[in-house]
């Protein structure tokens, strides 16, 4: 099958076939990461606008690298230097960017749903590079690609997610993707970060449970996804950093409760010695650097699919999909989206 999305705003609405297609299309770009000469001319003359309204280093560099390896030019907007500080509205800012005629907008924003809002007002494809506590679709795809490479499959795996799941768009994108392939999820972390409504996110029939003892949560796991602890969210004295380490840090000893061939994922940046010990982060089970390499491949595939250009009749390849996209935009299942 072929699948030409107009935008990539979330993984939740995509089918298993569409997700498999996106992962398969990333494979040729994984090979290009190994070439001595990594630069293609595929998107020569195209411009990719990177609008990061929330600070980001690695995702922005990853999308920027993907765009340059495809031969595209980059337009960069960073929150700190932007006119948002001067009181311009989000819509005015993106309309101004759009007036400089980019071919695709990659956007990160602190508010859940902001990229979808922008996509409804622009004719160019929009890629969500992380919005609030909603989704981070390219991260979900690169995680799945990493798991598929290591495990040979993404079907019916036991996935344990550790940390601040409530605020994690990475966890949500992973659940929306892997849940469509029959994976079972065990969520583990302090109770304030693992509220009961998380059991209801994910595709219909997704098996999601909460476990509060990390050893029990890791039992029989194929994949351990460790999330970054943001200390400003710890709210002392409810939970101190020391207590978090004591109760939830992924150590080599705790990882032994998982399957012997379990792999460890972390979206980065790593807090060594907090959510993960250096021993685990540097172990052969850790996929942290493969995730980074795969991130560029996945983002090259997304830019190729969305920004490569019009179809033969001159229309944008996915204009037909626009109507259905608009319908989807009101169909929000995750109750905690708007919490931030």
């Amino acid at each position: 099958m072929t699948y030409r999305p107009r935008d990539l705003l979330a993984l939740e609405p995509l089918t298993a076939d569409e997700l498999t297609f996106l992962l398969d299309q990333s494979k040729p770009f994984q090979e290009i990461q190994r070439h001595p000469l990594k630069k293609l001319a595929t998107l020569r003359g195209k411009t990719i606008a990177l609008a990061f309204f929330e600070s980001s280093t690695r995702t922005r560099i990853s999308f920027g690298t993907a765009a340059s390896r495809l031969g595209a030019d980059i337009m960069n907007l960073q929150a700190e230097a932007s006119s948002l500080k001067k009181g311009e509205s989000l819509l005015d800012t993106v309309h101004t960017l759009d007036a400089m005629k980019p071919d695709c907008l990659v956007m990160r924003h602190g508010a859940s749903g902001a990229p979808e809002f922008v996509a409804r007002h622009l004719d160019i494809p929009v890629i969500n590079a992380g919005d609030g506590t909603h989704e981070h679709p390219s991260q979900g795809l690169l995680d799945a690609l990493t798991i598929r490479d290591r495990k040979g499959t993404i079907e019916n795996l036991n996935v344990t997610i550790l940390g601040d799941i409530k605020h994690s768009r990475v966890a949500r994108s992973n659940i929306h993707l892997l849940g469509k392939f029959g994976c079972r999820f065990t969520l583990c972390g302090p109770a304030m970060w693992v509220p009961s409504e998380l059991e209801k996110i994910g595709p219909p029939g997704a098996r999601i449970r909460r476990v509060f003892r990390i050893e029990e949560a890791l039992e029989d796991a194929d994949v351990a996804l460790v999330l970054r602890v943001q200390s400003e969210r710890l709210h002392e004295p409810a939970l101190s950093l020391e207590d978090y380490i004591l109760l939830y840090q992924l150590s080599a000893e705790r990882l032994r409760h998982a399957k012997a061939d379990a792999i460890v994922l972390h979206p980065g940046p790593l807090n060594r010695g907090i959510e993960i010990t250096p021993e685990v982060a540097d172990s052969p089970q850790s996929c942290v650097l493969e995730q980074v390499t795969n991130g560029v491949a996945v983002r090259m595939a997304l830019l190729f699919l969305l920004a490569a250009g019009p179809s033969e009749d001159g229309a944008h390849p996915a204009v037909e999909a626009q109507a259905s996209k608009k319908r989807r935009s009101t169909d929000v299942k995750d109750p905690s989206h708007a919490s931030r």
Binding site: K27, P36, L37, L40, T42, F304, G309, P310
Partner: protein, 182 residues
């Protein structure tokens, strides 16, 4: 518009004999097979390259490595076809530096596919020599590109299409000339 079959250009046994001859020619002209490798251009160049490599094994037991190349990302008309283009993996399991590479494709026409394939190859390194082997050369070049090993030269008009049908992909084995008629 209808597509009509005008003539059969090659039967299964003619394809086989032609590939045997091309294998001999490549071995002869290369002056040694030590650095020789075949690059099949997707899609139909891939089974053809594998069959030529198989034929070479029968010549003097030489085992020539075969790689496959998908040229989609290097096309110069991508903006026209992007909405249907599906990327396939390229798989070249050897270093190309200082190699004697023979690209294999089914039909040589405008030369644009070969231009794209060479761009792809040079992203992998610096081969010592690159040559081209095709089953059919149908003329109408738009680039200064020629094949060094040619199965058959066929005079065609621009509306005609040459279809190379191979058992690995098409479940039949023959080359036909078809035409588009109003």
């Amino acid at each position: 518009m209808r597509i009509v079959e005008k003539a059969q250009l090659m039967s299964a046994s003619e394809i086989d004999r032609t590939l045997q001859r091309l294998a001999h020619e490549i071995v002869e002209k290369s002056g040694g097979t030590k650095h020789l490798a075949l690059i099949g251009i997707r899609r139909r160049g891939v089974p053809l390259a594998q069959r030529i490599a198989q034929a070479m094994r029968g010549i003097d037991g030489v085992d020539v490595p075969v790689g496959t190349l998908d040229i989609t990302l290097y096309r110069d008309d991508l903006s026209k076809v992007a909405s249907h283009a599906v990327l396939q993996s390229s798989h070249i399991p050897f270093g190309v530096d200082n190699m004697d590479l023979v690209m294999v494709d089914d039909v040589l026409y405008t030369g644009r596919t070969i231009r794209a394939a060479m761009n792809g190859l040079f992203d992998l390194g610096r081969p010592k020599r690159v040559s081209l082997c095709v089953l059919i050369d149908r003329g109408h070049r738009e680039m200064p590109i020629e094949s060094q090993f040619t199965g058959r030269v066929v005079q065609t008009s621009p509306t005609e299409i040459i279809e190379v049908r191979l058992r690995e992909i098409d479940n039949e084995e023959r080359v036909v000339l078809v035409d588009r008629v109003e």
